[in-house]
């Protein structure tokens, strides 16, 4: 950076440009300084989770330096990964997330295609309506939904409350509107000539969607999938309200309700559980960061 600016400078005005590049070097140093401070602030909790997860409960209650592990042990990991209860939470979370991602994509991709390409009566209003539903938070709906499912249980005998599959009905309300919205954005950016060519070649609408739109908008589909997965993995309120028996719980609620027993906090295990619960989204993020960020910014920048 600095050498480039000096090279460009005319010889007569070297002093002036020199001071400017010195300013820039200082700005750069300050930027790094503050970035390091912010990085410390942002990464302290996850790192502290990791530190605590390596400690035995004896070391934690000895109240030695909390930022250092004197006798690292994997007993917390071994304890959780062999506990049937914990594996059950993990399994429930995985099943729910995979099903919800599938349901979400099956609903939102065709809908986004229809709303962005097959203009029909009310399609523009409907697209706005989809975005509006995305703005309705789950904290507004959990009480009426709870009562609704209780009433359905009374009338039809289908027990939905306290069964993990009730989450398969609830989570799509959080994922589908946003996924539809960003897919509308991605589909709208595909040039019209492509589907015109497909129609001239005799492709039906379904074929246009599966052969042209899905392959071309594949990055958008990955971004939407990641979003749906992260939301269903992280959701806390719905499972807390709708499931209570330990064998029906998903990861976040399971860790909080089962590892915290009364006033006894086994912090080593809680932190290990929290870290393992945070691992799947973090791993996906580490490998597919660009798609993740694309999905995040698409919601507000597209449309």
């Amino acid at each position: 950076m600095t050498t480039a600016t000096i090279d460009k400078a005319a010889p007569t005005r070297k002093v002036k440009y020199g001071s400017m590049s010195r300013d820039r070097a200082w700005a750069l140093r300050w930027s790094y300084f503050f970035l390091v401070i912010f990085a410390i602030f942002f990464l302290t909790p996850p790192i502290y989770m990791f530190i605590t997860s390596l400690k035995s409960s004896a070391e934690i209650s000895a109240a030695t330096n909390p930022w250092w592990v004197f006798h690292p042990t994997l007993e917390n990991y071994a304890g959780l990964l062999t506990s049937n209860q914990f594996l059950r939470f993990f399994w429930n979370s995985a099943i729910v997330s995979i099903f919800v991602v599938t349901i979400t994509m099956l609903i939102s991709v065709p809908a986004a295609f229809a709303l962005s390409r097959m203009r029909f009566w009310g399609s523009a209003t409907l697209a706005t309506g989809v975005f509006l539903t995305y703005l309705i938070p789950e904290t507004l709906l959990f009480i009426p939904l709870f009562k609704m499912f209780a009433v359905i249980g009374d009338w039809t005998g289908i027990q939905l409350i306290n069964k993990w599959y009730v989450l398969l009905i609830l989570y799509p309300t959080l994922t589908v509107p946003f996924c539809t919205w960003i897919m509308i954005g991605y589909f709208a950016s595909i040039p019209k000539e492509l589907d015109e060519a497909a129609v001239i070649d005799g492709a039906s609408w379904i074929q246009t969607l599966t052969r042209i739109f899905i392959p071309v908008a594949f990055p958008g589909i990955i971004a939407a999938t990641i979003f749906a997965f992260t939301v269903s993995w992280a959701q806390f309120l719905y499972p807390l309200v709708f499931t209570t028996s330990t064998d029906q719980l998903v990861m976040p609620v399971g860790i909080i309700t089962s590892l915290i027993k009364g006033d006894v906090f086994n912090w080593g295990q809680i932190m290990t559980g929290a870290l393992l619960g945070a691992a799947p989204p973090l791993i996906i993020y580490a490998f597919l960061m660009d798609y993740y960020i694309a999905g995040l910014t698409a919601g507000a920048t597209k449309g």
């Binding site: 750069l28 930027s31 970035l35 912010f38 990085a39 942002f42 990464l43 909790p45 996850p46 989770m49 330096n65 909390p66 930022w67 609903i107 065709p110 809908a111 229809a114 097959m118 409907l126 706005t128 309506g129 989809v130 975005f131 539903t133 309705i136 938070p137 789950e138 904290t139 507004l140 709906l141 959990f142 009480i143 009426p144 939904l145 009562k147 609704m148 009905i169 799509p172 309300t173 509107p177 539809t180 015109e196 129609v199 001239i200 379904i206 992260t230 992280a234 806390f236 309120l237 309200v241 976040p252 912090w267 809680i270 932190m271 929290a274 945070a278 989204p281 960020i293 910014t297 920048t301």
Partner: protein, 311 residues
């Protein structure tokens, strides 16, 4: 455009071969489009719009949900001191957290934008981690950091002679902690949005400003901020909705305590409606979120349609 190109093609196909009317209907564009959006419509109607109106209905029933009592639930709430406490706390919580998130996100985005392009990816990736971890899990880490007897923060602060701080025990500190965790979770989102917006500001504008002798503050005030106004507005409004309706952080960190002093609408509605099994009263509490959410939503919609017209 597509319709024009396709119309003769399709009518020729239709006249050429005889098909049953059902088959024709299925081939028609509007029918196909309707069938494709039908699952979405059913989902939204049954699980979002219906429950929203059902909440209004529930709010007018008595505790056992057998009798219509009109606005009695609301009157009861207005007379309770805790309710006004919750209103006040929700507003303080949402406004303070959103302002700090927006300012912090803006500052960090600038620093990331300042450094050479090849290092930006690494920093951006690192700084977005709080947003990626499920909030329920990271709040547990904060709860442990704030632990009354083993707090790692108090351990560190004791070296500077700052006495043990009751992070979640004292009302003011508990509010501070809840807001701090919320900022920690939300600031990276602002950072990412602003960074995307900063990249779209043309470099020539800064060069022109530099030639005119603008200092860095003037460059931010007269170039960066006006260019980013749209994205700032939409991100802030969006975050306002999410923060106002927040549940996870308060629930795990303080569960509303000490003495209801950190309850916000969502956690209080949960406490009354689910834990206290007074569903109508809980529904009434959560309905109070609607006005603020509606105002924010209207502004967002206005912004989006404005941008749609520009494009």
């Amino acid at each position: 455009m597509a319709d024009v190109a396709l119309q003769p093609n399709r009518s020729a196909a239709q006249t050429g071969r005889k098909r049953s009317s059902l088959h024709n209907a299925l081939k028609r564009k509007s029918t196909v489009a309707f069938l494709m959006t039908l699952p979405l419509l059913l989902l939204i109607a049954a699980l979002v719009i219906y429950p929203a109106f059902y909440a209004v209905h529930l709010a007018t029933l008595n505790k056992s949900m057998q009798r219509f009592i009109g606005f009695n639930n609301f009157e009861f709430l207005f007379k309770r001191e805790t309710f006004w406490l919750v209103v006040k706390q929700s507003c303080i919580f949402a406004i303070t957290a959103v302002i700090f998130k927006a300012v912090l996100g803006f500052i960090i985005a600038h620093f990331v934008h300042n450094i050479p392009a090849k290092g930006q990816r690494k920093w951006r990736g690192m700084l977005l981690v709080p947003w990626v971890i499920p909030p329920a899990m990271s709040t547990l880490a904060w709860l442990w950091l704030f632990d009354p007897s083993y707090s790692a923060f108090n351990y560190t602060l004791s070296f500077f002679g700052i006495g043990p701080i009751p992070w979640t025990g004292d009302a003011m500190w508990a509010r501070f902690s809840v807001i701090l965790v919320n900022i920690w979770v939300g600031a990276p989102f602002f950072m990412i949005m602003y960074l995307a917006a900063l990249k779209s500001v043309p470099e020539q504008l800064y060069e022109a400003a530099a030639i005119d002798g603008a200092n860095w503050w003037q460059r931010i005030w007269y170039v960066t901020l006006p260019m980013m106004r749209n994205i700032i507005a939409i991100t802030t409004l969006f975050s306002l909705i999410v923060t106002f309706a927040n549940f996870d952080i308060v629930r795990i960190l303080t569960a509303g305590g000490p003495l209801d002093q950190t309850h916000i609408f969502a956690t209080w509605a949960f406490r009354i409606g689910i834990e206290g099994s007074d569903i109508p009263l809980g529904a009434s509490v959560s309905l109070f979120m609607v006005p603020i959410l509606a105002v924010a939503a209207i502004f967002i919609l206005r912004d989006i349609s404005k941008r749609g017209n520009e494009a």
